[in-house]
């Protein structure tokens, strides 16, 4: 790898939605950075030094300061680069709603998708599938409230929740291909289906989200992908 004096570095994995989150935020703020692809089977010294507690990616390094945890990194980027568009809403209540739903996505909803991968038996699978759809219905309601009639969770611009949920779109589509289940079903979640289409065609987003087909290939190659990937 060529030596670089970039002040901004991102340690991550191209396929990890949590890495994608940070890449989206950096793209929105037009921040140039060096991307360092980690090998989770052989973690770099830099990763172990900058995230000694969890030893997980993504880690964003600004100068000599490391920041860990994707949602925390996004807030740091928003606090530090104030000339670009704001990622979090300006109103404290709207910010609280954004944080609430991001926590719901990370703590309750995305773990279900991961659970589906390991589910044994039709009954267990069916139960998880039902819970995933219930979660999507809740997120649909959240979209209606947060967007306030506009195109995205953040209104006219890509915001915190667009990033927090949008980062999973590659994996959602990959899972549709692998399971045959249509998660983005316009009869069930029309608001979110429209949102996903608009987000994926946004200039700041479309080149950053990993392609579903590439994720399918990766998943079928290695079952242990999620090991070592942080929130």
């Amino acid at each position: 790898m060529a030596a670089t004096t970039s002040d901004e570095k991102l340690l991550g994995l191209w396929a990890s939605p949590y890495t994608t989150r940070v890449q989206l935020a950096l793209k929105l703020k037009s921040i140039e950075y060096e991307f360092i692809q980690e090998n989770l089977q052989n973690k770099s010294e830099l990763l172990l030094q900058t995230n000694p507690v969890h030893k997980k990616i993504p880690v964003f390094i600004h100068g000599d300061k490391p920041i860990c945890e994707s949602l925390i990194i996004i807030q740091y980027i928003d606090d530090t680069w104030t000339n670009g568009p704001s990622i979090l809403p300006s109103d404290p209540y709207d910010r609280a709603m954004a944080r609430f739903w991001a926590a719901y996505i990370d703590d309750k909803w995305f773990p279900l998708l991961k659970e589906l991968g390991g589910a044994q038996g039709d009954e267990a699978r069916a139960s998880i599938v039902e819970k995933i759809f219930e979660g999507l219905v809740l997120l649909e309601e959240a979209f209606v409230k947060c967007s306030k009639g506009k195109a995205l969770f953040g209104g006219d611009n890509v915001g915190y929740l667009d990033i927090a949920l949008g980062c999973f779109l590659g994996w959602i589509k990959a899972t549709e291909i692998m399971t045959g289940i249509k998660w983005l079903d316009e009869t069930k979640i029309p608001g979110l289906v429209g949102w996903a289409e608009r987000l994926c065609s946004d200039s700041s987003v479309k080149d950053v989200l990993p392609e579903a087909q590439k994720l399918v290939e990766l998943y079928t190659m290695s079952a242990g992908l999620e090991k070592g990937v942080s929130n």
């Binding site: 507690v53 945890e69 740091y76 606090d79 926590a103």
Partner: protein, 226 residues
């Protein structure tokens, strides 16, 4: 001034996080005690997703999840700041707040177990506490530095509830000789007037925990010999 209401539950350390933050900022609020496990219609209306306490309602708008509430309080009432101003320090504070949330189950597993399982749980809890001692607290008086902040509030349950949990479960984990700085932090944290004046009754908490542990253990199969 829009009215502030807090729906909480006496023994819940999560409710107290919010109480401490509001009191430290001098915010007046009405407290409504929920009679868990029964949940009032208001609680279900204000927190339909998780149906849990605490819920803060400000000017009729509800906010759930204690850590989300803490950030909201910090942003809405900026007097007596509880988060650092510097962006990187703030990110570090948020990191430890998230750690407090993620590790809460690990720190409580010994309460839900007996015998060898409990011994293992105590070992895991000690690993987490050692990280707090060495990396989160370091040589500071408080996690926030010289004064308390949201990180201290997030870990506040360790300063009071943990000792009651230890007593109920028959284990002593945080001691002055194995985790001296954490042990000192516990003392300092409890001496802050707002904290001291806003803690649940120890007797009531112990009684609550005793019943809770009995219920949990009655569901565990205990093999012969334990």
């Amino acid at each position: 001034m829009e009215e502030v209401k807090l729906y909480g539950f006496g023994p819940s350390p999560f409710s107290y996080r919010v109480i401490w933050a509001l009191k430290l900022k001098g915010v007046k609020y009405e407290y409504i005690e929920e009679n868990l496990p029964m949940k009032s219609p208001k609680l279900l209306q204000h927190n339909p997703v998780h149906k849990k306490v605490p819920v803060l309602v400000h000017g009729g708008k509800p906010i759930s999840e204690s850590l989300v509430i803490l950030e909201y309080i910090e942003e809405t009432w900026p007097e007596n700041p509880l988060l650092p101003k510097d962006a990187h320090e703030k990110a570090m504070a948020r990191f430890w707040i998230r750690f407090a949330e993620d590790k809460y189950p690990t720190l409580n597993t010994f309460f839900r177990t007996v015998g060898q399982d409990q011994q293992l749980a105590i070992k895991e809890a000690l690993k987490v506490l050692q990280i707090l001692e060495d990396q989160a607290l370091g040589n500071n008086k408080f996690f926030n530095g010289n004064t308390v902040g949201l990180v201290d509030i997030s870990f506040g349950w360790l300063a009071y509830w943990f000792d009651c949990i230890e007593e109920t479960a028959g284990a002593k984990i945080i001691k002055s000789n194995n985790l001296p700085r954490l042990h000192e932090w516990i003392k300092n944290f409890k001496q802050i007037p707002v904290i001291q004046e806003n803690l649940p009754s120890r007797d009531k908490l112990l009684a609550y925990l005793k019943t809770k542990r009995e219920k949990i253990l009655s569901c565990i199969f205990i093999p012969n010999g334990h």
